[in-house]
């Protein structure tokens, strides 16, 4: 998990996102246990209710599930679920703002796409 929380977004969302990051990175594999609400609360000095809200968000999305009396586990297929979710968020959080920024710079569609292609190419060369 990432070391620190920031105050740029709601804490329960950050908790959910950090768990998702760790699922994508293979820190927590499918069918493995994730930290409990109290462990998260202690680790980040946050209210347990806030940690629980973050975990419940992932339960609702089918990323985590609860084993009664044991704890929270990563659902099978969670990595794929997270990736799908992130793609949608990527469109809203990055692609649309990028297009908006391009429009405010009066970039044409073709210029914008050329820039994206160039960035992809540079990424491949590295």
């Amino acid at each position: 998990m990432r070391g620190t929380l920031n105050d740029q977004s709601l804490i329960y969302l950050q908790i959910a996102q950090m768990l998702e990051d760790d699922i994508l990175r293979g820190v927590y594999r499918e069918e493995e246990q994730v930290p409990s609400t109290n462990e998260l609360a202690r680790g980040y000095n946050i209210n347990p209710a806030t940690a629980a809200k973050g975990i419940n968000l992932l339960v609702a999305d089918g990323v985590l599930y609860k084993k009664r009396g044991i704890g929270m586990f990563v659902a099978s297929g969670a990595e794929e679920t997270v990736r799908r979710k992130r793609k949608a968020a990527f469109y809203d959080g990055f692609v649309r703002p990028m297009v908006k920024e391009g429009a405010s710079l009066a970039l044409s569609e073709e210029e914008l796409l050329a820039m994206v292609r160039q960035a992809v190419k540079e990424g491949e060369e590295k």
């Binding site: 740029q8 804490i11 202690r42 000095n45």
Partner: protein, 295 residues
Amino acid sequence: MNTAVLSARGVYKSYGKKEVLHNLDLTIEPGKIYGLIGRNGAGKTTLLGILTAQNTLDQGEVTYDDQPVWENQRALDNICFSRELQPTLFSGQNNLKVKHYLKSAAIYYPNWDQAYAGRLLAEFKLEPKKKICQLSKGQMSMVTILIALASRAPITILDEPAAGLDVVMRERFYQLLLEDYAQTNRTFIVSTHIIEEAASVFEQVIILDEGKIIENCPTEELIDQFRYVSGREDVVDEVCRGLEVLSTHQMGRHKTAAVRGGGVKLEAALSADVDVSPMNLQNVFVALCGHGDAQ
């Protein structure tokens, strides 16, 4: 599991001609950590004193488990208000020693946990034989924190516990608070001026402004209602129409507005040519209670 609710109804309090609390209602539910924030002189300490029957009230009523708290032994057993210590007592030095305070707390609070008190005493490196007037501000805070935690009272109230502490101790204090809370699930009410570092600890935040409670709701739910909208003046004004604008700040044609509104209304702002950024609890507090002083 404790289910008793602490409740204030129509509380009015004045000191001479100065009205401190105006017809105030407040409900404290069991098993939550409440943060009480308000500006200097907002009435926080008076309110906490009244909730715990340490101060009198002029009108209204405070009940615990539906019984008035005033001279109610059961309520007083179950509620701990650890007040700030003062280096002076009556008109002289406070010559009482740390151990005297601990001893009287042990008598006063039926759930007092002596072993826990001993552990905290060692951790805080407090000397029981020291006089209160010889302690630093931080050490005085530690004594009040120690008493509050070791009281194990179902409702525990701390007034500005973080004020005298250095940043390392403040973090440790919130850790201790959360550890205790995870074990006991008791109710805490913590007042503080150092808002931001406490925000993640509070499940619920109570904002007291000029003797009235203006908010009492889950911390993140409150924060999520607020945004900064900034951009060209006319576009910002257009976007903010229909939203509650709390404060604005202008530099030339550039305008920033602190707004409050539901998610749907803010959606419209996202598609306009303005920047929308979130607030933290401190920003929300300034927007609600600043009354223009901060500009």
